[in-house]
Symmetry: C2
Subunit: 202 residues, 2 copies
């Protein structure tokens, strides 16, 4: 029996997906929204955590780091993510969090079953159609520092506020923003934010 914790922020879809998975004789499924996922991971210790990378909190970035997957413990739950190729930033975060499975949400539901069974055995599963997304994830153009600057700008912070938060000079923030705009191929700051959010970098 494979214990699955399904993480998805839309209750309606999550319930239907959980019912659908539960019809499989070898799966036992619990389901939670993202905000309750870290706590349930600790309490349930499922074999597989199947998590949708779309998160409904304001920033839209799922708290993968809080799932408690790091720590060298062999018996830790294994992570499978539901993703799309057009948000490589989220794929990259899932890779960094150590996810074993990557199921394309634009593919068939049967892939999810195959993915869960593979990942439960400790094997990698990647939907073929996510290939281009991984390619783009590897080509992420911005440095961590540039991402920090852009994240604050996207939240509506002024140059002065960004400089204050990151202990930089006003001129340095301006230079970072110019580099970000150039590297993302954007026309201006707003365009750079739009492009980066679209890709899931922010």
């Amino acid at each position: 029996m494979i214990q699955v914790l399904l993480v998805h922020d839309g209750c309606l879809v999550r319930s239907v997906l959980a019912q659908w998975l539960s019809r499989e004789p070898d799966l036992q499924v619990d389901d939670v929204p993202w905000r309750r996922a870290p706590c349930h991971m600790r309490a349930l210790r499922p074999d597989v955590c199947a998590a949708d990378l779309d998160c409904s909190d304001t920033a839209g970035i799922p708290p993968l780091g809080e799932l408690g997957l790091r720590g060298g413990d062999q018996a830790l739950p294994r992570l499978l993510v539901l993703a799309t190729a057009n948000r490589p930033g989220l794929l990259r975060r899932a890779l960094e969090a150590g996810a074993l499975g990557y199921v394309d949400k634009t593919g068939t539901p049967e892939q999810l079953l195959r993915g869960i069974r593979k990942v439960a055995k400790g094997e990698r599963f990647v939907s073929e159609s996510l290939g281009f997304g991984f390619l783009k994830a590897a080509e992420m153009p911005l440095t961590r520092r540039e991402l920090s600057v852009l994240t604050l700008a996207a939240e509506g912070a002024s140059f002065a506020e960004i400089a204050g938060s990151l202990h930089l000079s006003h001129g340095t923030v301006r230079n970072y923003m110019a580099a970000i705009t150039r590297k993302t191929g954007a026309r201006n700051r707003i365009d750079a934010i739009r492009i980066s959010q679209g890709q899931g970098w922010l």
Copy 2:
């Protein structure tokens, strides 16, 4: 028998939802992504179109106007939307498109069944939990012209480009942007875009 056309951009979730709906003896379900919805509405003429308001195209605004729901024909399909209270801009678009049903995606799946059956009879269905979203939809602070300006700005257009597109002077665009920033309670232009996108106005 109620003919349902399910519109949702994620194939995996759409397939599972369609299978789940098809278990009901009184529902016959077809399913398509948004880009194919207008064509299928014309070809199938379903009783109910049950459409997820999240659309995966770049702008994220579903093409509700292209579903062919307007035209005074009594036999037109009826629209039910899957929505959330935190994007009042999308609720407002659904209202303007003449949707009869509004099902909260953060609620139970049984609501979707009740909603489809109500709407098939030509009756209104609204999830109670969407009430606050409708209140906010009614309080939309921006005029159509302000929205046009902000939409172009969000796409990365400069003031000069916005002025050119909308046949306005540079100063008028600047005045619109100042009004938008004030009315949305934003700190600056980027913040106004962030707030408006979060609410689903853009």
